[in-house]
């Protein structure tokens, strides 16, 4: 990658002498150098205005459709790939769904560097390219991959600056105004490099450019960054490749040597005609155009030429148009062949989660619930939502949850497209007190809870609380969020209000008897004599009754309507209390059995069944 500061007179070269193919320009002649000196003098006149000039950075991913595909399939990174102009119908492949079809006369629109090195060029047909390189991989553009890559690129840009504008696919502008306070480390690094203020500012912009390229690299793309006073100039600087900073007031020097080909005039028919006409007149660089009379150019070549001429004179738009955007952290993959194996799917999901994790990390967020949409070979869709107990950024835990969901209910057909969406959540802030006991670090705690939830199930970890019900066994699960430690610890149990009594010392030597509940209650058989339990037999116990306490009648929720009762019954049947009716009437006993335990059993009045509810321990 090109790294260097723009040197007047050598617009696309660098001090180290390396240059990319896109930056190959001719060196200026002595006559041109004298003209350059004149333009420098005129630039000094507006020094005050330049101090307050806007600074725009353009992050540009070249060959974007291909880069998006490579991002989705990292194994293709160094392979020769060619993209055909338009996707054709998919052809069925035995047992593997449908595969992308292409014809020998399909034209290549984008080629990778490896293919280019083999002599393949764009607009070659597949047959021509294959004759040069038989191992060429031919693919169709993937709109889903491009969408995901563009979202990721915007996320990377937004992580740098809150003011950004998304341009064409693969291009994002950000406003650098005021970023010194946001990126103090870059500012400090720049200050250490530069001796005076202008150099420090330029060094800071270099630091920002490097940071931007690094962040885009983290999301799986390679980007060029150009920084200038306007969007257009920054875009042209980025098109030169590498990291390029155009200092304020030096735009003309940079643009003077810019070939017309780099301005993308040929993207439409009018521009293509204009470029041809300008070249016929010998105008091959923007500098040639800038020295003409704008009125004459306008009358002869039209509005497009005037716009181009203004650009050549260094004028440009520095106002970024921000559009509201729905923050969707989603990744999509369109598979060439349908896959039926969950293990293979796991590899793809891991890569997708990793990319999403990087995007979330760039934005300082963590992942909440997940939505997985699978497009199947039989043209059906499998959509599932996976709950995440504790928001986490740990890929391993999220992948575990996905795998568990897929293993519990595998998709009925081969998978052709995958779309994974993560709900972003802010991480829990942490602020510990120096004089209080340590509490769990939120990020590490959430990661641990997410891993446990993946292993045991999301409804098996949290804070267990009694439910708002008179039913003795009713419990509910809440998210574990321990409150901060109190500044003054509460008094011990014996000293608490309501528990302290006259003459009762703080330490009573008497523990509270706990019950180990059995969820769901276990059906047992109780042999009675004159309605007094004599012998208990169940799946795990069979013993004679030694002592009895009770019965104590519990009756409740009879006031519930039939619909509520049905709902509760349905909810209970899927939960822990599988055999508990919504309305209950029970006689509770505490039975000391000959096996040494004291058990809590009840007899249900509706079913006349006996249940083992708990054991005192």
């Amino acid at each position: 990658m090109y790294r260097g500061r723009f040197i007047p007179g050598d617009p696309c070269g660098d001090s180290s002498g390396e240059s990319s193919p896109a930056t190959r320009l001719e060196s200026p002649s002595p006559h041109d150098r004298s003209r350059l000196a004149l333009s420098n003098k005129s630039a000094d006149a507006g020094e005050v205005r330049k101090k307050h000039a806007a600074r725009i950075a353009c992050i540009l991913v070249s060959n974007f459709p291909l880069a998006a595909i490579v991002r989705s399939n990292p194994e293709l990174r160094d392979r020769p790939i060619g993209l055909i102009r338009m996707p054709t119908a998919k052809r069925p492949v035995a047992g593997k769904g449908h595969a992308v079809a292409y014809q020998p006369h399909s034209e290549l629109t984008h080629i990778s560097a490896a293919a280019k090195a083999a002599g393949i060029q764009t607009e070659m047909t597949v047959a021509q390219a294959r004759s040069l390189l038989p191992s060429l991989t031919v693919m169709a553009p993937s709109p889903a991959a491009e969408r995901a890559a563009m979202d990721a690129l915007i996320d990377a840009a937004e992580s740098l600056s809150p003011v950004f504008e998304a341009g064409q696919p693969g291009c994002v502008w950000i406003d650098l105004g005021g970023l010194e306070n946001l990126h103090r480390h870059a500012k400090a690094g720049a200050a250490a490099r530069g001796a005076n203020a202008p150099d420090a500012a330029s060094a800071f912009e270099h630091e920002i450019a490097e940071e931007a390229a690094g962040r885009v690299n983290r999301i799986g793309l390679d980007a060029a960054v150009g920084i200038a006073a306007s969007k257009e100039v920054a875009h042209l600087a980025a098109r030169c490749g590498g990291l390029r900073v155009i200092p304020p007031g030096h735009e003309r020097e940079f643009l003077d040597w810019m070939p017309l080909e780099l301005t993308e005039l040929g993207s439409d028919r009018i521009g293509e005609e204009l470029e041809l006409r300008l070249k016929r007149l010998g105008l091959r660089r923007l500098g040639d155009l800038a020295r003409l009379d704008i009125r004459a150019v306008g009358s002869r070549f039209g509005a497009t030429a005037v716009t181009l001429m203004r650009l050549a004179q260094g004028e440009g738009d520095a106002t970024l148009q921000m559009r509201p955007r729905s923050e969707v952290f989603a990744e999509s993959v369109e598979l060439e062949y349908g896959i039926e194996n969950l293990e293979a799917l796991g590899f793809i999901l891991h890569a997708m989660l990793k990319r999403l994790g990087e995007r979330l990390q760039l934005r300082g967020l963590v992942a909440g619930d997940m939505t997985l949409s699978l497009g199947l070979a039989d043209r059906s869709h499998d959509d599932r939502r996976i709950a995440v107990a504790a928001a986490t950024a740990e890929v391993r835990s999220l992948l575990m949850l996905l795998n568990l969901s897929l293993a519990s209910k595998p998709p009925p057909a081969a998978i052709e497209t995958i779309r994974l969406t993560l709900e972003p959540r802010p991480p829990r802030p942490a602020q510990n007190d120096m004089f209080l006991p340590p509490s769990p670090a939120p990020d590490r705690l959430e990661a641990a809870i997410a891993r446990i939830a993946a292993m045991c199930g999301p409804d098996r970890v949290g804070t267990l609380l009694p439910a708002e019900s008179y039913r003795p066994e009713a419990v509910r699960l809440a998210e574990f969020a321990p409150p901060p430690p109190p500044k003054i610890p509460p008094p011990p149990m014996g000293e608490r209000s309501g528990q302290k009594r006259e003459g009762l010392p703080n330490k009573t030597n008497i523990a509270r008897m706990a019950v180990r509940t059995i969820r769901p209650a276990e059906k047992i058989e109780v042999m009675c004599t004159r309605e007094t339990p004599e012998f208990v037999r169940g799946a795990n116990i069979a013993s004679r009754v030694i002592s009895i306490a009770g019965p104590w009648r519990y009756q409740g929720e009879w006031w519930a309507t039939a619909d509520e009762a049905q709902e509760r019954s349905a909810a209970a049947s899927s939960g822990w209390q599988g055999n508990a009716p919504a309305t209950y009437a029970r006689d509770y006993y505490e039975l000391a059995l000959a096996d040494g335990g004291v058990y809590r059993v009840y007899r249900d009045h509706y079913t006349l069944q006996w249940f083992l509810d708990g054991v005192y321990d």
Binding site: R444, I452, C456, T463, N509, I510, A511, R512, M513, V598
Partner: protein, 311 residues
């Protein structure tokens, strides 16, 4: 060497004679003092149960950074004792309760004084302990052949893994691992790993099971046994009430104190309503073959005219 560095002689009787300045010698002794293992576990680093009988028995409480084992059959009072420790911890720290089955009763937990919002509950019942955990674990064999028979013991890998993750997260004062009756054996490597995780995190770890499982890696082994269930009637012919249990606790292993001692302590359904009557004031005559603990019984507080003296 003693001549060159006389202060290295750690003989308290001779320190004054060797070092003329007593204050200086004190400082020197502190720096070069003999490393005594018991000092590593200071009293203020222990977690008390607020039950003086139990705390005195185990030398002041369970130790942070170590494993304490509570063993006993179902109904022997393990859960009640563990909740007593958890109630003290959750006053200002977080604790975790990991169980192999869904047995934790939140009502009992709150009644015992535990702050439920500071208690992380994990149930590994549906984790398909051996099968699923076997896939998740990459370094421990979850199924170990028994030494004396052909059948294989089940190792609760999911519970252990959850405990390890929680300990690694840090910030917990107490981690309670409740193994059900089917768990009988822990591999030494697993116990060692758990002990090291506890030591790194500084959290006290209570392992509950039917028998001792951590072996030499447990700092404390307490065996609990139900001594007597106490039923009571307010008057003749009235339904009986279950008041609680008398539980015998015996120290089977204590690396930081003596072992072999035992006490009997009561666990009551309503501790404020019942007190333990001391043997001296007990009207029950001690019979031949009865131990002194048979004289302990739970007496309703109103019988003693409020709350009587509790031993």
């Amino acid at each position: 060497m003693a001549a060159a560095y006389p202060y290295l002689r750690i003989e308290p009787d001779n320190v004054t004679a060797i070092a003329p300045n007593p204050e200086k010698s004190k400082v020197i002794l502190e720096i070069n003092g003999v490393f005594r293992g018991r000092e590593l576990t200071r009293k203020d680093r222990r977690i008390v149960s607020n039950l003086p009988l139990i705390d005195d028995l185990i030398g002041g409480g369970i130790v942070r950074g170590r494993i304490s084992e509570f063993c006993g059959a179902t109904g022997s009072g393990k859960t009640s004792l563990a909740m007593s420790f958890a109630a003290q911890v959750t006053r200002n720290e977080a604790a975790a309760w990991i169980e192999s089955s869904d047995n934790l009763d939140p009502a009992s937990m709150i009644a015992a004084g535990i702050e439920p919002t500071r208690m992380l509950w994990v149930s590994c019942r549906d984790a398909k302990l051996v099968h699923r955990a076997n896939r998740l674990m990459d370094d421990d064999d979850p199924v170990i052949p028994s030494l004396n028979s052909g059948w294989r013991h089940r190792v609760p890998v999911a519970s252990l893994k959850a405990a390890e993750w929680i300990l690694a997260a840090g910030g917990f004062g107490l981690v309670i691992i409740d193994f059900d009756a089917t768990v009988r054996f822990l591999p030494q490597s697993t116990a060692l790993r758990l002990a090291r995780a506890a030591e790194r995190s500084g959290a006290a770890v209570i392992v509950m099971g039917e028998r001792q499982m951590c072996g030499t890696f447990a700092a404390l082994g307490l065996t609990l046994k139900r001594y007597r269930a106490c039923f009571n009637r307010t008057r003749s012919g009235a339904p009986a009430t279950f008041d609680g249990q008398m539980i015998e606790a015996r120290v089977m292993r204590n690396k930081l104190g003596g072992s072999g001692r035992s006490v009997v302590w009561p666990a009551a359904v309503d501790p404020c309503g019942f007190v333990r009557q001391p043997p001296s004031s007990s009207p029950v005559t001690r019979l031949a073959g009865q131990s002194r603990y048979d004289l302990y019984r739970l007496v309703p507080a109103n019988r003693l005219g409020g709350c009587g003296q509790v031993e």
